[in-house]
């Protein structure tokens, strides 16, 4: 099998190499956490990079598994952190894409039972997808006895800080009907916070529901391709002319590989160069899709790539 070894090279690049790569691409897709910001702290130079790429005529998109905010709230965050020209249409979160999937792909006729935070609920409402409205003031029942809505045709699991046993039990009941769809916003087992701390992610909640129902969720977020299909359907993107830039090998880089994009790992977030090389050196053929084509220390390196040319 030696001749079939992956060509994904894990090449650390800077300067003119970055310039050459970017010149060959029309579209750049950025993950957010760990790439353009970390929590409430911008990655130095990120706003300038976005402006620069747009000046060069590139289309720029932001593609994040983080479903805790609706798109309008992301726009506010972009502005707050110094990005001057990011439009709502360029932001694709797993919450937005889950709503789009239910409305446009599944063409859901019925309601969604949502296990999710306000970020998820708002995107569903914005998309006009009917959800089970729970009156938070009314008693929700006990784990043995709770009301079910007969119009539920889908269950969506996302990040939910109010997740509890009753929600798990209800979701499991709805999913006993094999015609009820089962979606998850994203598979991330944990989310990084400031200072290297982590908090449980949507993936851990989805795992509980999958175990209870003996069913597998359809995952909308990276590394599944749906979010790329969502962008491509609105903006007519050619994967061959698109670059995915991310910080998590198992999410962003695998996503890029799955969708046929070139991939770039930036080292300002979760994954390390050692981990990338670990996947590269692995004998397991499935691991090759975790290996990025390119690696940069930070996306701010794009700036000097263009400055060098002008020098």
């Amino acid at each position: 099998m030696a001749g079939l070894v992956s060509s994904r090279g894990c090449h650390k690049i800077r300067g003119s190499q970055i310039r050459e790569l970017l010149d060959s691409k029309l579209n750049v897709l950025f993950d957010c956490d760990g790439v353009i910001w970390n929590g409430e702290t911008v990655v130095a130079g990120a706003p300038e990079v976005v402006t620069l790429l747009k000046q060069q005529g590139k289309k720029v998109f932001f593609i994040t598994n983080n479903c805790t905010r609706p798109r309008a709230s992301y726009v506010t965050k972009f502005i707050r952190l110094g990005f001057t020209d990011v439009a709502e249409e360029e932001i694709f979160s797993s919450a937005y894409c889950s709503a789009a999937y239910l409305r446009d792909v599944a063409k859901l006729q019925g309601k969604v039972y949502v296990i999710g935070c306000q970020g998820v609920v708002k995107e569903l409402r914005e998309a006009g997808v009917p959800i089970v409205e729970e009156d938070t003031n009314a008693p929700t029942g006990t784990i043995y006895d709770y009301p079910l809505d007969p119009e539920v045709k889908a269950v969506l699991v996302g990040y939910d800080e109010k997740f509890d046993f009753i929600k798990l039990a209800k979701a499991c009941c709805y999913l006993q009907n094999t015609e009820c769809l089962f979606l998850a916003t994203d598979p991330d087992p944990w989310h990084p916070l400031r200072g290297g701390r982590i908090t449980p992610g949507s993936g851990s909640l989805t795992a509980a529901v999958e175990t209870a129902s003996s069913r597998k969720a359809t995952v909308i977020g990276k590394p599944s391709c749906f979010m790329f299909e969502c962008i491509a359907s609105q903006f007519n993107l050619d994967p061959g002319q698109s670059l995915m830039v991310g910080d998590r090998l198992e999410t962003d880089i695998l996503f890029g590989a799955n969708c046929g994009l070139d991939t770039m790992l930036t080292l300002t977030g979760v994954s390390t160069l050692e981990e990338a090389h670990g996947y590269k050196d692995s004998d397991d053929p499935e691991r090759k899709d975790f290996v990025p084509d390119y690696v940069v220390e930070t996306i701010a390196d794009f700036i000097e790539a263009y400055e060098e040319e002008e020098g």
Binding site: I198, T199, L205, V209
Partner: protein, 306 residues
């Protein structure tokens, strides 16, 4: 040499089989009761086995009751059983932590009051039992105060399971020296009245996924529960029968420990399930094929009464 398996137990074979064992281990849910209803004939079976000089034990993955609570339930239902004959995972997890993990420190517990009681009985303090609703914002959750004496996260059935509990468990498990122990992996918990809710397996899966590591499981099919019984009562495994309704827990435990195994059809698994494992030829699945099966343990009565 092919060993005959999955044999319908009837006629003279019943007495023959019973004469070949001194001890019988029974699962509870789906075997001797369903919820709070005894399987018809089950109390007589247990009581007659004892009268006939057999040792009888109860081995259940259910972590919601202490040994005393089980003994009380059994007394109400007409079973002649004592506290020390009952091995539930609340008790066995405490034993595991005390004697196998040799835990020096506290436990962060996602579990029931029963688990808390069994832990306290062996001198292990816990923190975390009961409701734990979310408050504050994300960064607060990563900074929840951690009790420095906690050396293990223990997960059992918990109707108060919440994101906050999952979060606390994750923060403790950030320390690679912190143990992760689960009572069992059953995906459903059978309830009084015949209903079922998501089981401990779901809660444990959430914790394992967030922490990206596997728990040590105490309950069936892990051999620990058999070891617990055997070490206290000096059992001869060659003269021991495991009776259960689930192939992947009860029967597999029996196979793993070299016991004879009897499947009863009053619970979860079917004969078709057993035959599918048998025909698979897969070594891992063969352990789930019982030696014998009956429709209900009540079928043992004629041989016991005779």
């Amino acid at each position: 040499m092919a060993v005959s398996k999955c044999t319908r137990l009837n006629g003279p074979l019943i007495k023959q089989m019973l004469d070949s064992v001194d001890s019988v281990l029974f699962d509870c849910d789906g075997v001797i009761w369903r919820g709070d209803q005894a399987i018809p004939g089950a109390p007589d079976v247990i009581n007659l086995l004892k009268k006939n000089g057999k040792k009888v034990f109860f081995v259940t993955n259910n972590s919601t009751k202490t040994r005393k609570m089980y003994a009380d339930k059994m007394a109400l239902m007409g079973f002649n059983a004592t506290e020390d004959e009952v091995f539930g995972t609340a008790y066995c997890s405490a034993m595991y932590l005390k004697h196998v993990s040799r835990l020096q420190g506290k436990v962060y517990l996602i579990g029931s009051n029963a688990m808390r009681q069994e832990l306290e009985k062996v001198g292990i303090q816990q923190t975390g039992v009961g409701p734990d609703p979310i408050s504050g914002v994300q960064i607060d959750w990563a900074n929840v105060p951690l009790d420095p004496e906690v050396k293990a996260v223990v997960v059992g059935f918990d109707e108060h399971f919440s994101y906050m509990k999952l979060n606390r468990a994750l923060q403790y498990l950030n320390n690679p020296d912190c143990l992760l122990v689960g009572t069992n992996t059953d995906t459903r918990l059978p309830l009084e009245g015949g209903k079922a809710v998501p089981g401990t397996g779901c809660i444990l899966k959430a914790v394992e996924t967030a922490a990206q590591r596997q728990a040590q499981t105490v309950g069936k099919p892990n051999h620990f529960m058999y070891d617990c019984v055997a070490s206290q009562f000096g059992l001869d495994r060659t003269r021991c029968l495991m009776v259960g309704d689930r192939l992947d827990t009860d029967i597999l435990l029996g196979s793993n420990c070299g016991l004879k195994t009897l499947l009863t059809l009053t619970g979860v698994s079917t004969v078709a399930d057993a035959e599918a494992h048998q025909e698979s030829g897969c070594p891992k699945r063969l352990g789930m094929v019982p030696d014998y099966y009956v429709e209900s343990i009540a079928e043992l009565l004629p041989a016991l009464q005779g």
